[in-house]
């Protein structure tokens, strides 16, 4: 049985976090000889303790379930090795690659694969909730989706459109003047693989128009 707890994972001097995100810390780990990451959701001091416990528990359980379903549906994402329900931590497969937010220039191929993976995820009834370039990994095996911390089981067009919108926003900030082309490639691949794409795109327009003080399209 594993003995790592949330506490000692966070304080053990030898174990430096591999990455420290807003929501969770990732520690290098191994699982029966395979390279793994231990994802620990830390207590947030700023949140009311009851709210904090509810959120961390809910999100860890949901993330574990989403990972299983997404893998089964053929989405390129890490395999879930172990779910520690007491400490809200997950042991997941380590994937080698570069974050799409760090590759410098996002290629058309990247944009296409991001569209295809998102379509698969949506077809499996999952909305990612934070589908930005920082949560996509360019690996030798293609684009992989990571960090399902905010993912939800839903086919609600609003949530699906949220994923599309967020990714397109991150293309805008990261592209070197060719955001338009990348968005077009992303959308083409998405619609080829997801029958409800038209409905999703029209909701994207609605959401953009709804935000405060947006320039009117």
């Amino acid at each position: 049985m594993r003995k790592t707890t949330t506490e000692d994972a966070g304080t053990k001097g030898a174990r430096k976090p591999f990455s420290k995100g807003a929501e969770a810390e990732l520690f290098p780990d191994s699982w029966y000889g395979r390279k793994a990451l231990l994802k620990v959701r830390k207590r947030k001091e700023y949140r009311h303790p009851v709210l904090d416990l509810n959120l961390r528990g809910r999100r860890a359980r949901r993330e574990a379930k989403v990972l299983r379903v997404a893998r089964a549906a053929g989405v390129k994402c890490p395999e879930l090795f172990f779910e520690d329900e007491k400490n809200f931590s997950l042991t997941i497969e380590f994937l080698n690659g570069n974050l799409l937010s760090r590759v410098g220039k996002i290629s058309q191929e990247h944009a296409r694969e991001a569209g295809a993976q998102l379509a698969k995820l949506h077809s499996a009834g999952i909305a990612h909730g934070d589908y930005s370039a920082s949560n996509l990994l360019a690996t030798p095996n293609g684009i992989c989706v990571i960090d399902f911390g905010l993912a939800e089981f839903t086919s609600n067009v609003e949530e699906l459109a949220g994923d599309v919108l967020l990714f397109e926003k991150s293309l805008q900030t990261q592209s070197l003047g060719n955001a338009g082309e990348l968005v077009a490639e992303f959308r083409k691949a998405y619609s080829r693989n997801f029958p409800r794409s038209k409905e999703v795109f029209s909701r994207v327009r609605m959401i953009a128009a709804r935000a405060r003080y947006r320039p009117k399209a």
Binding site: G21, E45, D130, L150, A211, Y213, R214
Partner: protein, 339 residues
């Protein structure tokens, strides 16, 4: 340089006189730039919210008195003024128009230039001036606005980019509606926050963070329904909705901070006065290794001092303007920041 500034975005009409001896926009600081007077009149909150026409009438009626007080307290004769600044937007059209007409007539009579100022940028710049921050991640929280923004450079143009924001209503509007709903005193965000500070039991409510964006409408519906259906007490409802809304805001900001890695956090806008929110932000900043700053209370809500401070920077930067008309939908990212 001495600037008279007029603010008339929503519930407040304000006039301020600001003087500065700064040599460049970048150098503007507490040491060389001073707010000599910062007078205002606020339309009182009612249990029915605000009606734009009535706000504008209020501003038109109060303007002369506020102007007179601002000149008197700063010991300024109109001839000493170098420019007239005013809020161009965003805001309520009726109200913006009053400030624009006032500023325009002063500028024509005194034969000094007119300086249009973006209200959202002014909230940020007054914070930078008062706190000495240089390049903070800005959390701008007021009635109509809830934005997480930072200075970015795109193709050699500096701007405040909105990195996260509310997808429906501003957090201040959310708190105002609940303050009215629960008949707090006063019936707005201030009353609600006071009630919530008394503590209570937390009950489960929707918590909507979408990546780096937020939404408050679902939370608003759920909490009013829960009270209507007697599922919770008014006190617990006030406490829980504030805890939920602020945690959402801090979490979204933390997510943005993890991308941008700014060393400073700056909380501005009317809602920045909440002690609860300030404490939550400083805890988050400490966790992420950033310094957290809060705009001083007298510069948090809407007032003309912030318009004056921003105008000083604009004048020193030699900014030019194509359009002076009020613009209700002006966004924080609509304008270049030369400094």
């Amino acid at each position: 340089m001495r600037i008279l500034a007029i603010e008339s975005t929503a519930h407040t009409i304000g006039v301020s006189v600001v003087s500065s001896s700064a040599r460049s926009a970048k150098a503007v600081s507490l040491r060389n730039t001073e707010v000599l007077s910062n007078e205002r009149a606020k339309y009182p909150s009612t249990d029915r919210g605000y009606i734009p026409r009535q706000l504008a009438d209020h501003h038109a009626k109060k303007y002369a008195g506020v102007l007179e007080a601002a000149l008197r307290k700063s010991k300024t004769a109109p001839e000493e003024l170098d420019c007239i600044a005013y809020t161009q937007g965003p805001g309520i059209g009726h109200c913006l128009r009053v400030g624009f007409v006032a500023a325009n007539s002063l500028s024509k009579t005194l034969e000094v230039p007119l300086v249009p100022v973006n209200h959202a940028i002014a909230h940020v710049e007054v914070g930078n001036w008062a706190c000495g921050t240089k390049d903070p991640l800005v959390i701008y929280v007021s009635g109509g606005n809830t934005q997480i923004a930072a200075k970015t450079e795109v193709r050699e143009k500096r701007k405040y980019a909105v990195l996260g924001e509310t997808l429906d209503i501003g957090i201040g509007n959310f708190l105002d509606v609940l303050g009215r709903e629960f008949k707090c005193a006063p019936p707005d965000a201030v009353g609600l926050l006071e009630e919530a500070a008394k503590g209570g039991n937390l009950f489960d409510l929707p918590y909507t963070v979408k990546g780096v964006d937020l939404a408050f409408a679902g939370l608003l519906t759920a909490v009013t329904r829960a009270v209507g259906g007697k599922k919770t007490s008014r006190r617990d409802a006030c406490f829980s909705s504030v805890q939920n809304a602020f945690a959402m805001l801090v979490e979204a900001s933390e997510r943005v901070l993890c991308h941008t890695r700014n060393g400073e956090l700056l909380l501005v806008g009317g809602v920045a006065q909440s002690k609860t929110l300030q404490e939550m932000y400083s805890l988050m900043a400490r966790e992420q290794g950033a310094k957290s700053f809060v705009v001083p209370a007298q510069y948090a809500g809407d007032q003309a001092g912030m318009i004056g401070i921003t105008a000083v920077k604009q004048v020193l930067a030699g900014m030019e303007y194509g359009n002076y008309e009020p613009n209700q939908d002006l966004r924080i990212d609509a304008q270049e920041i030369p400094w």
